[in-house]
Every structure is written in structure tokens, then in C-alpha cells.
């Protein structure tokens, strides 16, 4: 039997709880789910490497988002990706906004579920297709027999409706109306 390696339960729990918040933050920086997932994993790797340094009195999400910020930058730098990357000022603004919103992630998820229920069946189906694996607009267009542009317009409309609906439901101080 190998020598067991341990992460403390507190650390694992904190890391688990932070996942959606850190992912949401990374998405604001990179805008693409695939890239966001890569950056999240790279961030997690660093967090686990530094598990011993975790100070339970510090806010875990802030710590994680700080690392994620640099990981997002280095992700594009290392891969020399031809992808737009926000500069420092924008990054700082986004980090600040993410910090404000971190406590609302669960409320926003709940609100979003309610908002999705208000969509038509066809719109819900588009959401499932778009955000599932391989959910490219072109692929969806081929599946539903519409033009890519028409699908794009529909998705744009849905996204705006959902964003507005969530905004109306989530109170500024937290909680769902």
C-alpha cells in the first residue's frame, strides 16, 4: 500500500465550493468555455500545489481568482493564441466585479433556472444544444434546418432575455426575488 497523501477536508471543500465562482470569473476574462475550463484546471493545479499555504482566514475565492487572473494571461501567452486578451485595467475591473458577485453565484443559478423555465420549448431546446458539447452555431443550424445567422440571432435574443430576467430576480444585496 502506498503512503497516503492527504489534502485537508477543509481545503477540498473550499476548492469544491469555489469552482463555479472561479469558472464564472475566468469566463469574464476569456469568454470561451473551452478556454475557461483549461484556465480553471491550470488554476486548480496551482491551488492544489499551494494547498499547504492555504490560510483558512483568507477568502478562498479571492485567492483563487487572483491566481486565475494570471493563469488566464499566461494561458494565452504560452500558447501564443491569436485571441483578444484584456489589459490590466480591464482585468482589475472584472476582478472587482467578480468579487462583488461571488456571493451571488448560487442565487444567480437559481434565478437562471427559473428564467429558463419561462422560455418556450423551442428556446429551451436551443439552450441545451448550444451549451452542450459540440454546441457550435453551425452544427445547431444544420440540426434544426435553419441558417447559422438565424440561430445566432435567436441565441442572442435568448441570452439577453435570460440576462435581463436574472438581473430582475437577483437583489443587489443577494437573494432571489
Amino acid at each position: 500500500m502506498s503512503q497516503p497523501q492527504h489534502y485537508t477536508p477543509e481545503f477540498i471543500k473550499a476548492l469544491a465550493q469555489a469552482q463555479p465562482q472561479v469558472y464564472a470569473f475566468v469566463m469574464t476574462l476569456v469568454g470561451q468555455p473551452d478556454v475557461a475550463q483549461d484556465v480553471l484546471q491550470e488554476t486548480n493545479t496551482v491551488l492544489l500545489e499551494k494547498a499547504a499555504e492555504y490560510d483558512t482566514s483568507r477568502d478562498f475565492v479571492s485567492w483563487a481568482c487572483g491566481i486565475a487572473r494570471y493563469k488566464a494571461l499566461s494561458h494565452f501567452r504560452d500558447r501564443k493564441r491569436d485571441r483578444h486578451v484584456f489589459g490590466e485595467a480591464a482585468m482589475a475591473r472584472l476582478a472587482e466585479a467578480a468579487g462583488r458577485r461571488a456571493a451571488q453565484v448560487a442565487d444567480r443559478e437559481l434565478a437562471l433556472r427559473r428564467c429558463i423555465d419561462k422560455l418556450s420549448d423551442e428556446q429551451q431546446q436551443l439552450v441545451v444544444m448550444r451549451y452542450g458539447p459540440d454546441g457550435s452555431v453551425t452544427r445547431i443550424a444544420a440540426q434544426v434546418g435553419r441558417s447559422a445567422n438565424a440561430v445566432s440571432v435567436s441565441l442572442s435574443k435568448i441570452r439577453k432575455m435570460l440576462a435581463e430576467c436574472v438581473r430582475q430576480q437577483v437583489a443587489p444585496g443577494g437573494g432571489v426575488a
Partner: protein, 461 residues
């Protein structure tokens, strides 16, 4: 400086383009300037991207719910209770997803760190010169270890070596991300990142796509995953029984060069080494009830009924070509298609095999009771329909279905087996709850039968 509605609309359009990867460098620069200079546009940006982030997180990255997940998550039961009390269902859902995701992460992390070589030497970091760790203990429930076995706690990692469990359940996440629930008494040995040996006892393996090919060796042969969840039992005589809960597997007798036998969901087989044969066995999912729990209130279709008998739990409530249709009991049917009979479900239809015209939709419904305090539960539905699943509704609310779940069973060949688990994750009502399953007949030009077969497991909230 406030912004006008027109500016907000224009900005939203830019963000949409960026999210769809269609924004030019100049347009991206405009977005950047806007979020730096305008608080209001920063919030608009975060709202829009936040929707995208939540949806992609939910639909793309979360591990598929599986019964084994529930056990993993039970380790954090206290937190779940707290979260329920504080924030309700959304918090619980987020926490559950995140916990599952992070456990997957931890399982895969060791490899990353080794590959890097220069990884930190903190307590969480594997030693670069150590031999590879093949699995992580992600949960233990009532685990009692054999006297001479090393007790393993949450987060402990395993190389090769035997895991000897006298009682309880221990859950492992392999480096390949398969989940292995070991049900004591059992003796298991990890042989590699995607391979283990069950010397005795029972285990349930739940294998995501990325761990395809996960293999369980037993004294009688091997079981190779083909994308699935399956149970394996090695009894005292060394007989191996394989039960496929989802997907399919291939089984092969030890030292046998003949072609492997493929088993699909709902099938079970015994590897009879002495007889040199793979023999059919009774499908008994309840054997693995510790991690695969049949729903206690929601009955599978046609359970225990003879063909033609009225199902006391299921009824047919509507057909799309007959507005005056009156609800009536569903009836158990002979296999419409050759999906093996099990102790958990059989085909149902109505009016002598429910022969209807092509395109007609038939609604099957069942009502089940839920006690106060038990309304937060997830229901897993395994099903096969003749021919196409059109909708699932719980208390009148539509359950989102994926395109795959709505595929025509005949066209895709999935009519031959129970489909992957469909997870119904909705708040239930105290008292009576109604589940409706709408099935469309897509048969040929002549009227053909329509039918449903479904069984349910209870998943942790």
C-alpha cells in the same frame, strides 16, 4: 457618466459577437474601453457573460450525474444540510456539481504534477520519484477495514496494493476518472490507472467517456467498460457476476481467446470458469442497492406483471389524435423489442399493444407520494421507448431533454436497450406528484405499437 439605452444595446451586440468569437480586434478594444470606463456597461458585460458561464458550466463541464456520485458527495453531508437550510436547492446543486468536479480534478492532478517534475513538495504534492498513484479515496461510509489493512481516509491515494474492506462502502476515483464504489466485505487491488482487480466482494464502476476501457479483473475473467455503469460480484466460490446498470461492457473468461461477450444495460451474466462459458444471470440491480438505489415510491413500468395485466401504477392519459381519449390503466406487454426482462421494469402500452398511426403521441403517467422533508431529491430514469421520447413532465413542468435523449430509438438502434440515465432534478411536491412521459410513434406507414419501459433510481439531492 451614464450611458443611453442605445449604447447599451450596441454594447450588448458587441459582447454577443465576442462570445460567438466573431468580434474584430477593434470591437474587442471597444468592449475593453467600455468596461473600464462605464460601471453600467461593466455590469451588462458581467450579466451576459455570467449567463454564458452558468449555462456552459451546467451543460458542458459538470460530470454526468451517476449513482456513484451520490456517495462521493455524502462525505460532505453536513455542508449539504447547512447549505439546504441557508440557500435552498441552487446552493445544493452548485455544491454537488462542484464537489464532483473537484474530486475528478484531484484524481487527475497527480499525473499533472509528476509530468511537471518540478512540482512543489507541499503535503498535497506527490513525490516526483514515487511510483504512480492510481486512485484517490473520495468517500468512505461506515467503512470497517480488515484488521491488518491500512485504514484509508478521504483524499488518501492508492498505488497497487489491496484495499480490504470488512464492511461499509469506500469510493475511489481512479486516475482515469472512473468512480469505483467498493461494497464491503471486499478485497480490491488497483493494477493501474484504469484497471483494478476484484478478488472478492462487490463493486460498482461508473465510467465517464474519458475513462473508456476501464477494466475490472476477477478470478474468472475480465470486464471491460464500453461507456457505462456496471456492478461486479465475486462470490465465495469465485464465480463472477456482471450486472450492467447503464451502457454496455464486454466480458471475457480468464485464459480464453474466444471473442468477448457484450452485455448491455439491463443484462447480467455469470463468468463460469469451470464450465468455460459466460452464462446469462438474473439482472438484480438491487444487489448494488448501497450505491444504486431503486426508487422507493416511483415504480418501474410493469413491474412483476404478466402480459396484458393492468399496471396499478401507470396509466395512459392522452393520445394526440383523440381529444376525447379517456385515461386508462397502462398494460404490461410482451417485449415489444427484445430488451431483456428484469426485476425492475418491463414494457407497458395500452389497448392491446397501443397500435397507433405514425406521428401520434401517447402520454404515460404515474403518481407517487413524497413526504414532507423529502422533496429535495433527484430521480434517475432509465428508459427505452417505442419509438421516440418527446417530453417528460414532472407536475406539469417540462424536464429539459437533450437531443440525444430525444433521438428516435428506431433510427439510432437504441430501441434494443435501456438508455442512459435521464436525471430529473426538480423540487417535488409534498404529497402526490405526477410524472408524465410522452412517447411518439415514428413507425412505418401502417399503424404500429407504441410503448414505454422505464425504471427509476433515487439519487442523493
Amino acid at each position: 457618466m451614464s450611458v443611453t439605452q442605445r449604447e447599451i444595446d450596441a454594447f450588448q451586440a458587441l459582447v454577443e459577437k465576442w462570445l460567438d468569437e466573431r468580434a474584430t480586434a477593434e470591437e474587442f478594444a471597444q468592449i475593453e474601453r467600455a468596461i473600464v470606463e462605464h460601471d453600467e456597461l461593466l455590469e451588462v458585460y458581467c450579466d451576459l457573460v455570467g449567463v454564458d458561464a452558468t449555462l456552459s458550466w451546467q451543460h458542458r463541464w459538470l460530470p454526468k450525474p451517476a449513482p456513484a456520485d451520490d456517495g462521493v458527495l455524502a462525505t460532505m453531508g453536513e455542508d449539504l444540510q447547512t447549505e439546504r437550510a441557508r440557500g435552498g436547492r441552487a446552493r445544493v446543486a452548485l455544491y454537488r456539481y462542484a464537489a464532483a468536479a473537484v474530486l475528478l480534478l484531484i484524481a487527475g492532478l497527480a499525473v499533472t504534477l509528476w509530468q511537471r517534475g518540478g512540482a512543489s513538495q507541499g503535503p498535497g504534492a506527490p513525490q516526483p520519484n514515487g511510483s504512480p498513484e492510481f486512485a484517490t479515496v473520495t468517500d468512505t461510509r461506515g467503512a470497517v477495514w480488515e484488521a491488518d489493512a491500512e485504514p484509508l481516509g478521504l483524499g488518501a491515494t492508492l498505488e497497487t496494493g489491496r484495499l480490504q474492506l470488512r464492511a461499509g462502502v469506500a469510493e475511489l476515483l481512479t486516475r482515469s476518472t472512473a468512480t469505483v464504489s467498493v461494497l464491503g466485505p471486499a478485497d480490491v487491488q488497483m493494477l493501474g490507472p484504469n484497471r483494478c482487480r476484484l478478488n472478492s466482494g462487490r463493486l460498482v464502476a461508473t465510467v465517464p467517456e474519458m475513462a473508456h476501457g476501464f477494466t475490472v479483473e476477477t478470478p474468472a475473467g475480465t470486464v471491460v467498460d464500453l461507456g457505462t455503469s456496471f456492478g461486479v460480484t465475486v462470490d465465495r466460490l469465485g464465480y463472477t457476476t456482471v450486472t450492467v446498470l447503464q451502457g454496455s461492457v464486454e466480458v471475457r473468461l480468464a485464459d480464453d481467446d474466444s471473442a468477448p461477450v457484450r452485455l448491455v444495460a439491463g443484462e447480467a451474466a455469470r463468468l463460469a470458469l469451470r464450465e468455460r462459458r459466460v452464462l446469462p444471470a438474473t439482472f438484480a440491480a438491487t444487489e448494488y442497492a448501497d450505491v444504486w438505489t431503486p426508487h422507493d415510491a416511483l415504480f418501474g413500468t410493469g413491474v412483476g406483471l404478466q402480459p396484458g395485466a393492468a399496471d396499478p401504477h401507470w396509466r395512459v392519459t392522452a393520445r394526440s389524435d383523440d381529444a376525447s381519449f379517456r385515461a386508462r390503466p397502462a398494460t404490461a406487454e410482451s417485449p415489444i423489442i427484445n430488451v431483456p426482462e428484469t426485476d425492475t421494469s418491463r414494457w407497458i402500452s395500452f389497448d392491446a399493444r397501443g397500435v397507433v398511426a405514425v406521428g401520434v403521441e401517447v402520454t404515460f403517467a404515474t403518481t407517487f407520494d413524497v413526504a414532507a422533508g423529502d422533496t429535495r431529491q433527484r430521480i434517475g430514469m432509465r428508459y427505452v421507448v417505442d419509438n421516440q421520447l418527446v417530453a417528460v413532465r414532472l407536475n406539469g413542468e417540462t424536464v429539459p431533454l437533450t437531443p440525444k435523449q430525444m433521438q428516435d430509438s428506431t433510427a439510432t438502434g437504441t430501441l434494443q436497450r435501456l438508455n442512459e440515465l435521464l436525471v430529473i432534478d426538480r423540487e417535488l411536491a409534498v404529497g402526490a406528484n405526477t410524472l408524465e412521459v410522452v412517447v411518439r410513434n415514428t413507425g412505418g406507414p401502417q399503424p404500429t405499437p407504441v410503448g414505454l419501459r422505464a425504471e427509476f433510481i433515487r439519487m442523493q439531492p
